[in-house]
């Protein structure tokens, strides 16, 4: 038999040092007390162990399992389902560029590309100084502020490639960075602790950035009789999709693929026009 590595961790995972464990046990007790059933504490507890080590480690999984009387397999199954749990060491600042359709179209794709080039890292990779982890994220419920960049899950609205480059430069240089909506940035670990349900006690954190962003007030201002922006152009007719431009190549060659795929494998089975028995055939035909 040859050894086959399945990428599985060595079990059992080491425990936390005694003082860390005692501190986390007290926190876990507080989380568990919020719920009628202890298992409900699992998601916040995974945020808690992430606040200790910056990602969910085998030690953290073991800790959650022991506290909740679950198996590590059960805990791992949950931890791997949710995208906010990191499974490898990452940076102090998680910079997430929204590349869901609306933000992507409004410039999110350009921003993500600019940051990859500027930082020299790809998706879900960390800069060498350990400061910034870059990733693309899905819709973050701020489409009226598109394109949106999130840093440690605080809002940076209406970004451009230029503003995003400056943002990551400031983060790497240790300069104070203020979100458009949210509190002065804390580290990823500190953010994870808030997510575990322990309120941010920093003075001014709740008040920071004011009541609502500009876009949130657009309708209210109109309703109060304040005028809309100067750019009054009603939708007008004319021009079809063809007016947007010509095909990129006219020679019939396949052009470079569009920068649309990030995650999934690119290779596909070839479509077979000679075999109409594929899914094209409707039921009953």
């Amino acid at each position: 038999m040859t050894d086959v590595s399945l990428g599985m961790p060595q079990l059992p995972a080491p425990d936390y040092p005694a003082d860390v464990r005692a501190r986390l046990e007290a926190d876990a007790g507080e989380i568990i007390a919020r719920y009628p059933d202890s298992r409900s504490a699992l998601l916040p507890m995974l945020h808690l162990v992430q606040s200790e080590e910056g990602h969910v480690t085998p030690t953290g999984l073991r800790f959650c399992a022991e506290m909740l009387d679950l198996t590590t397999a059960e805990v791992t199954a949950v931890a791997t389902f949710y995208t906010m749990y990191r499974r490898k060491p990452s940076g102090d600042y998680q910079v997430g560029v929204c590349t869901n359709t609306l933000c992507a179209v409004m410039g999110g794709d350009a921003i993500f590309e600019a940051l990859q080039e500027h930082l020299g890292v790809g998706n879900d990779e960390t800069t060498e100084d350990g400061k910034v982890t870059l990733e693309h994220i899905e819709c973050n419920a701020a489409c009226d502020f598109a394109p949106v960049v999130m840093v440690n899950w605080e809002f940076f609205d209406n970004q451009t490639p230029e503003s995003a480059r400056k943002l990551v430069d400031d983060l790497r240089a240790g300069r104070e960075v203020l979100p458009t909506r949210g509190a002065p940035l804390c580290t990823f670990k500190e953010t994870a602790r808030i997510l575990a349900g322990f309120p941010d006690e920093r003075p001014g954190a709740v008040e920071a950035s004011g009541s609502a962003g500009e876009a949130s007030l657009a309708g209210l201002k109109l309703a109060k009789g304040e005028k809309a922006g100067p750019k009054v152009v009603s939708p007008r007719g004319g021009g079809g999709p063809a007016s947007a431009g010509q095909p990129v190549t006219e020679t019939g060659e396949a052009p470079q693929p569009h920068p649309s795929s990030h995650d999934a494998p690119r290779k596909t089975a070839a479509s077979d026009p000679d075999n109409p028995a594929g899914p094209v055939a409707k039921e009953g035909k």
């Binding site: 298992r39 489409c143 396949a254």
Partner: protein, 446 residues
Amino acid sequence: MTAESAEKLLAPVLSAFWDDPTSWTLDTYRAHEGYEGLRKALAMKPDDVIAYVKESGLRGRGGAGFPTGMKWQFIPQGDGKPHYLVVNADESEPGTCKDIPLLFANPHALIEGIVIACHAIRSNHAFIYLRGEVVPVLRRLHAAVRQAYDAGYLGKDVLGSGLDVDITVHAGAGAYICGEETALLDSLEGRRGQPRLRPPFPAVAGLYACPTVVNNVESIASVPAIMNRGKEWFRTMGSEKSPGFTLYSLSGHVASPGQYEAPLGITLRQLLEMSGGMRPGHRLKFWTPGGSSTPLLTDEHLDVPLDYEGVGAAGSMLGTKALQCFDETTCVVRAVTRWTEFYAHESCGKCTPCREGTYWLVQLMRDIEAGKAAMSDLDKIADIADNINGKAFCALGDGAASPIFSSLKYFREEYEQHVTGRGCPFDPAKSTLWADDRTAHLEVNA
């Protein structure tokens, strides 16, 4: 259009004082008649509160439009089990951006609504399941819940009524599927967020197998105003079947993106005319009435009343009123490809049609976008979408099929151009926020 007509057409209720510099605080909320609806509700019997909300005609604002009062009525009474209220604050539907600004600027509207709902359904424990990726909102929810406890609106014997209500704020961990109510319940129980088979419905066996109401943030936050100002007042807005006010979220290639609170039934044309229209020099090409899971509409549909019946009659759904507007610079194939990648990424994997179907749709859509597809692939994506739609375990699958069907219906020619032209005829640089801004033009490097 003048600002005067905007004043007539809009109806800020939940957003009425978001411009106050401390709008999220208890003091500001009380200065705007906050917690007055609760006082009135506590003076009524629980069943009367349910009947009142039912008669107001309030319908769920999370997408499906189910009558809120009826949902509350389904909770069995005298069954000896604990009852739970779970607020769905997992706002993740692409394009949807109403609950997050609402909770950021006015979290007490939700808390007051929760206490009223708990009184009505005889619950002593409510959960707010907030998506995790919005820490600024989580901060304000933590603060608002603490303020409400200190002021006696939460905890033991609320305002001397004998009602006990506790709220647990629970942050999710990143999974679109948890916006589906039964997946949300599994997630709240500490499991992978996968939908449950129904029946039993949550009203009978929800959280911890106990009777549970799951309501959207905006639905619950609308209840205090109804209790305070009356169901008749509520019914003066909107239509018979879709009464009341709601938040419309305008985004994309519009001059003034943002939140517009208005009576149900306003049209996109009215919203665009009052807010400055599309960005200068461009025209509307396609839009979603309520997030990416609602079939696309075009400029033919500018006068469709944006209520449950009106949008339904136009072949789409009101959904979350997330009006994502795209102009003629946008490639519909690119837009649909990206949404399809989203559904494939977020498919929980429980059922085969959705898990496999979204995977193959992504492969085909990428090929079409890149000009590598055959014409028969257009029929193939339609067929795969048909094999997902209505055949998946939950509505995520239907949502994945919607952009495919609707874009093929209105823009098949554009798909064909990608195939015959062996590539995308659009320049993505022209769609960006800064595309028409000469000073920033050098930044465009898409």
